[in-house]
């Protein structure tokens, strides 16, 4: 989602007796990274900062921590959740939190108006405005007033 490419992260299962398998995995990973070339972290600084804020933020941490309890015993309202629907809600939350954090990062980076933010992070204007209202309620950004008929925001 952050645009650095899913192929830069590899996950593999290697048992302690499988030295040959380990060598294969390492060779494949190394070849794949060689093919993709160098990763420039400065190009993705906003995205990586937003990803870090999202993953360390409360909503996601809570949802991951409560998953087993909610999918096996139901939530506090007595509703039952199967794993698939819980995961889909978790994905939606992840996306929303990530976009919100990306907006905050863009504002910190000097963008003030929704149109600038939208252009900077490549998210459509309607979504940016919608999430800005959310961020304002959560006191993460502040509405500073209008400038040439355009709203101006600042990060808190």
């Amino acid at each position: 989602m952050s645009g650095i490419g899913a192929d830069r992260l590899h996950l593999a299962w290697v048992s302690s007796a499988e030295a040959q398998r380990f060598v294969e995995v390492v060779t494949d990973v190394s070849a794949s990274i060689h093919e993709q070339g160098k990763l420039d972290p400065d190009r993705f600084s906003l995205q990586l900062a937003a990803a870090e804020d999202t993953l360390s933020g409360e909503p996601l941490r809570w949802m991951v921590g409560k998953e087993v309890q909610i999918t096996t015993k139901g939530d506090v309202y007595g509703r039952q959740w199967d794993e698939a629907s819980y995961e889909s809600i978790m994905d939606r939350t992840l996306e929303k939190e990530y976009h919100k954090n990306l907006i905050v990062q863009a504002i910190k980076d000097g963008c003030q108006m929704p149109r600038d933010i939208s252009a900077r992070i490549g998210l459509d204007l309607q979504r940016v405005s919608f999430l800005l209202t959310d961020l304002e309620k959560a006191r993460q950004v502040e509405f500073k007033g209008m400038e040439a008929c355009k709203p101006v925001f600042a990060a808190l």
């Binding site: 992260l9 590899h10 299962w13 499988e18 990973v29 190394s30 993709q36």
Partner: protein, 66 residues
Amino acid sequence: MAEFDPKIVAFLCNWCAYAGADLAGVSRFQYPADLRTVRVMCSGRVDPLFITRAFKQGCDGVLVAG
């Protein structure tokens, strides 16, 4: 241009992949030397944050093996 020398952080489970890597070493198998190994007691110990931080600090790839 100098040859690209990637930095790959590998989180290896002490009981599985780390032992596998050890065995590969003992058995004298050849494999690429691009890995920077971090031994963890279980691959469940790897927090997604470790991975974003690795990328932030300029790693070109991350491998989690358990």
